[in-house]
Symmetry: C2
């Protein structure tokens, strides 16, 4: 079988293909860098049309990480995928879904475990980078708490996936990000792989 | 904000939406169950047209897991995402990408680390469930070793993603699966989230 075995060459050709085939013209250069990595993670060059963002999101997230901010993730797969060597300050990557307090909070609040775990972000969210790559209820719950006056994260990567609430939660984020710089992908698409790609790009501009 | 907070209801409506909107008519019932979970993980109902499979794949993978077979994964995100409580025999979920031997093997073989890690599967592959959710070179390298007479895995979940080699490696798997029951998605799409969804469905038929 004839195939390219040189990892660096695979990366180079992959990113060249993505830049040749996707319409990045509506995106600032730094946001385009993030979207290119998201495309790389899912194989779909049509993402840009559905991307919504605040123009400060890359500076805000990257600056926060350089100052040592933690990354708060909704799913273990997201936390697992972040490339530690790209993090500028050996940042903590935190997922509290399996915290012993989460199931009780979910019952008390009448919501999912994914949303209940947001409660445990309360003391860490100020200036943190938040990454939602799985559960729409996480994003909805977070936005509700921000409405109630929680401190603001440095940035929100809002990419929950699926059929019930995903599109709606991302519409809500894009319409009213509660003053937090954000990036999202409208519609049903999203997920942990794309979220990890966005985080890895925000952490380090190198392709 | 008005949204559904009941996790069980979210699942029920999600799977109902997927079954209403996707054309599963060309798939045996057990394979359709796997594809429904893959759709759930990516938000795209058009996967079925690109799915290729061996009709025995679900029985083969599920039987192997019930007999205690390990799952060999190409990426840590894949290993991280498998829901341990769905595994029928507390099966090992193994990713050897970070094994100390992998970088040296990659240099010796002139290939990627992802492909080199396949070498470390040699003594565990017979009857194992193999899951490739990231690197096309992993799938190519595995197929090459099977051509050379390696023992056969019980099943191959072949879902590498991307622009260089992904479509080609999955075409190769679908054209000639080397006697291994398989499931794949033609084209550039794939990735760790979809692969985890397939594994979780193979491990346990419950939606």
């Amino acid at each position: 079988m004839d195939y390219i075995r040189d990892g660096a060459e695979i990366y180079r050709r992959s990113f060249a293909t993505i830049r040749a085939e996707s319409d990045l013209s509506g995106l600032p250069e730094d946001v385009a860098g993030v979207v290119v990595r998201m495309i790389h993670a899912c194989g779909m060059t049509d993402l840009p049309a559905d991307i919504r963002f605040d123009a400060t999101v890359v500076d805000a997230a990257r600056g926060a990480l350089q100052r040592g901010a933690p990354i708060l993730c909704d799913a273990k797969m997201v936390a697992s995928g972040v490339t530690r060597s790209r993090l500028p300050a050996d940042n903590q990557v935190i997922c509290l879904l399996d915290d012993p307090a989460t199931p009780r909070l979910a019952t008390e609040l009448g919501t999912t475990r994914s949303a209940a775990a947001v409660e445990l972000w309360r003391d860490r969210i100020e200036g943190a980078v938040v990454a939602v790559g799985n559960a729409p209820t996480t994003l909805f719950h977070l936005l509700g708490r921000l409405d109630e006056g929680w401190p603001k994260p440095a940035a929100i990567v809002g990419l929950p996936v699926g059929f019930i609430g995903a599109a709606e939660s991302k519409d809500e984020l894009a319409r009213n990000p509660r003053g937090a710089p954000f990036i999202t992908l409208l519609g049903r698409r999203g997920g942990s792989a794309m979220t990890v790609a966005a985080l890895n790009a925000l952490a380090d501009p190198r392709e």
